[in-house]
C-alpha cells in the first residue's frame, strides 16, 4: 500500500499535473474574476467600527505567504474563501460545523477550523494551508509510509493539525498525539497509522528547514 501511494505521488511530480489540476482548470477563471485590484481595496471605508456588508466588501488574506485581495460578503467563511475564491481545495468541507477537522488550517501557526472562522476575521493573520507543504514534507511522507490514510478525505486537515502539533512537540509519544490531534476524526479509522506517522515526522521535522 505504501509503495503504491508513493508511486502515485511520483507520477504526479513527473507529469506535473494531477487530476485535480485538470479539474480545476475551469474554476481558476471564475476565481480570477473574484480578485480585485489593490486600488479598489484601498478605497474601502476607513475606521474600524464602520459597518460593512451584507454585500461584498474588500477582504485581504495572507495565505501561504501570498497576499490576496478579494471581495467577499462578511458571511463567507475562511474555508469557502480558500476553496471557492482562491482555488485552494486542500482544506475539505465535511461537517461545516467545527466538529470533524477536515477543514483545519493554521492561523498564526495555530490549528483552527476554517469552516468556523469568517474570512473577514482572518485578515491580518498568517494563514497556512496544506498547499504550502511540499510533497516531500516529512509529515506527508510519514503519512504515506505508515498508511495514515485510506480514502484520504480527512488527510489534509489531519496533516495540518499534525504539523502544528509536531512543531510544538518534537519528542511526542503516541499518547500525546491522541490528545494533540483530538480535533480531527478519520471515519476510515486509520488512527494507528496516523499516530505512528506523527511521532516519526515530529522527530524528523526538528531542525529541518521549512518544516
Amino acid at each position: 500500500m505504501a509503495e503504491k501511494q508513493r508511486g502515485r505521488a511520483s507520477d504526479r511530480l513527473r507529469s506535473g499535473i494531477s487530476r485535480r489540476d485538470f479539474l480545476r482548470g475551469s474554476g481558476a477563471l471564475a476565481a480570477a474574476t473574484a480578485l480585485r485590484t489593490a486600488t479598489e481595496a484601498a478605497a474601502a471605508p476607513a475606521g474600524a467600527a464602520s459597518v460593512v456588508g451584507p454585500g461584498p466588501v474588500p477582504v485581504t488574506l495572507t495565505v501561504n505567504g501570498q497576499t490576496h485581495r478579494l471581495k467577499l460578503e462578511p458571511r463567507v467563511t475562511l474555508l469557502d474563501a480558500l476553496r471557492n475564491h482562491l482555488d485552494l481545495t486542500g482544506a475539505k468541507k465535511v461537517c461545516d460545523r467545527g466538529t470533524c477537522g477536515a477543514c483545519t488550517v493554521l492561523l498564526d501557526g495555530a490549528p483552527v477550523y476554517a469552516c468556523s472562522v469568517l474570512a473577514i476575521d482572518a485578515q491580518g493573520h498568517k494563514i497556512e494551508t496544506v498547499e504550502a507543504l511540499s510533497p516531500d514534507h516529512p509529515m506527508i511522507q510519514a503519512f504515506v509510509d505508515h498508511d495514515g490514510l485510506q480514502c484520504g478525505f480527512c488527510t489534509p486537515g489531519f496533516v495540518m493539525a499534525a504539523v502544528a502539533f509536531a512543531r510544538q512537540n518534537p519528542e511526542c509519544s503516541e499518547e500525546d498525539v491522541c490528545r494533540g490531534l483530538s480535533g480531527n476524526i478519520c471515519r476510515c479509522g486509520t488512527y494507528v497509522g496516523i499516530r505512528e506517522a506523527v511521532v516519526e515526522a515530529a522527530r524528523k521535522m526538528r531542525g529541518a528547514a521549512n518544516a
Partner: protein, 322 residues
C-alpha cells in the same frame, strides 16, 4: 447562513453602540465556534455581527491584588496554558483541558464558553430552547433524552453546555457586563435563567450587553473539576463536578460543590456542601456528599445513568483534594 452586516470596533463603548435592541438585530462575535454553526443551521439569524476580538485589553489574564481578571476574548487555549490560573485555579485548567479539540480551544473564548447555546438536539433542529412540538408540548420527556437533564427546571430539559461555568461558580467568580446603562457585575451563578418560552434566552443578559471580563477572588481555596465522559476526546462530558474547599488541615471550613451537564443551569449542590461543611474530608464524608449531591434528581426515561455518573464526578473531584 443568511447575509449580515459586520463591524469590528476597537472599544467596548463602540461595540455596545453597534448592538441593536432585539436578539434578531445583532449578535456579539468572539470565537464564533458556536455562533457560526447556529447561523448556518438557521437557529439564529442576526442582521449584524459585532466582532469584539479587536478590542484591546480583552485578551489578557491579570492578577490584580487578590483578584484574577480574565478578559472576555481570552481563548480556552490561553486559559489552559496560563501559569497564574494553573497555580490558583486548577479546576479551571482542568475544565479548559476538557474542551478536547485544539482547534476549538484556539478560537473559542472564555466568555463564549459561558454564552454558548445548549447542545440539545431538539433545540439545534429548530424546536426551540424548550424543545416543543406543534401544540407546545415538550418533546424531551417522551423523546431521545439520553443526554438531557436529570434536574430539569420548569419546561427546560436541556443541559447547559458550559465547561467553565461550574468551576467559576464554585470559585465565586463574577462577570463584568457592559451595556447602554454602563457597567454591572453579576455572580456567574446568577448569569443563567430558565426561559419561560421559546422566545426567551437562557442568560440574564440583554441583547445590547457584552460580557467583558470574569473576575475570581484568589483566596486560596483548594479546587478541582472532574468530568465523566463517554469518549475521552472531542465530545462533551456526560456529567461534571467542580468543587472549591476552604480547608483547615483535613477539616472543611466551607465547601462549594457545583454540578455541570445535569440541568439547564450549573447546579449548586447545597446538600453536598452541608454534608462537607465543618466535617473532616474522608472517604465516608465524600460518599455522603456525593449521595446528597444527586438527592432530588428526576431523571428522564433514558438518562438515569447520569445520576450515578454525577456522584462519581463529585467523589473524584473531592478525592483529588483529600
Amino acid at each position: 447562513m443568511n447575509a449580515f452586516e459586520y463591524a469590528s470596533p476597537q472599544t467596548v463603548q463602540e461595540a455596545v453602540e453597534l448592538l441593536g435592541p432585539g436578539w434578531q438585530d445583532s449578535a456579539v462575535l468572539a470565537g464564533g465556534t458556536d455562533l457560526l454553526s447556529l447561523m448556518k443551521d438557521g437557529i439564529v439569524s442576526p442582521r449584524r455581527l459585532v466582532n469584539i476580538k479587536r478590542i484591546r485589553g480583552l485578551d489578557r489574564i491579570e492578577l490584580i491584588g487578590d483578584v484574577v481578571r480574565i478578559g472576555a476574548t481570552v481563548t480556552l487555549e490561553q486559559l489552559l496554558r496560563d501559569a497564574t490560573i494553573a497555580a490558583r485555579f486548577p479546576s479551571l485548567t482542568q475544565a479548559a483541558a476538557g474542551v478536547t479539540s485544539p482547534q476549538i480551544r484556539n478560537m473559542g473564548t472564555v466568555a463564549g464558553d459561558l454564552c454558548q447555546r445548549p447542545r440539545c438536539w431538539y433545540f439545534r433542529a429548530g424546536f426551540g430552547i424548550l424543545a416543543t412540538g406543534p401544540d407546545g408540548e415538550p418533546l424531551v420527556p417522551a423523546g431521545d433524552n439520553r443526554y438531557h437533564a436529570i434536574f430539569p427546571e420548569g419546561q427546560a430539559y436541556y443541559v447547559h453546555p458550559s465547561s467553565l461555568a461550574p468551576a467559576l461558580i464554585a470559585l465565586e467568580a463574577t462577570v463584568e457586563i457592559h451595556g447602554p446603562q454602563g457597567t454591572r457585575e453579576l455572580p456567574v451563578e446568577e448569569l443563567y435563567r430558565i426561559p419561560g418560552s421559546n422566545n426567551e434566552r437562557e442568560l440574564n443578559l440583554g441583547p445590547r450587553e457584552i460580557i467583558t471580563a470574569i473576575t475570581i477572588p484568589a483566596n486560596g481555596v483548594k479546587n478541582a473539576t472532574y468530568e465523566v465522559r463517554q469518549r475521552q476526546l472531542l465530545d462533551w462530558p456526560l456529567a461534571t463536578a467542580s468543587v472549591a474547599l476552604r480547608l483547615s488541615g483535613r477539616k472543611v471550613v466551607s465547601a462549594r460543590v457545583v454540578l455541570g451537564h445535569v440541568g439547564p443551569r450549573p447546579r449548586r449542590a447545597t446538600g453536598a456542601e452541608a454534608v462537607l461543611n465543618g466535617a473532616e474530608l474522608n472517604e465516608q464524608r465524600i460518599e455522603a456528599a456525593a449521595r446528597a449531591a444527586v438527592q432530588g434528581a428526576r431523571p428522564l426515561s433514558r438518562n438515569g445513568y447520569k445520576v450515578q455518573l454525577a456522584q462519581v464526578a463529585v467523589k473524584r473531584a473531592l478525592a483529588s483534594l483529600a
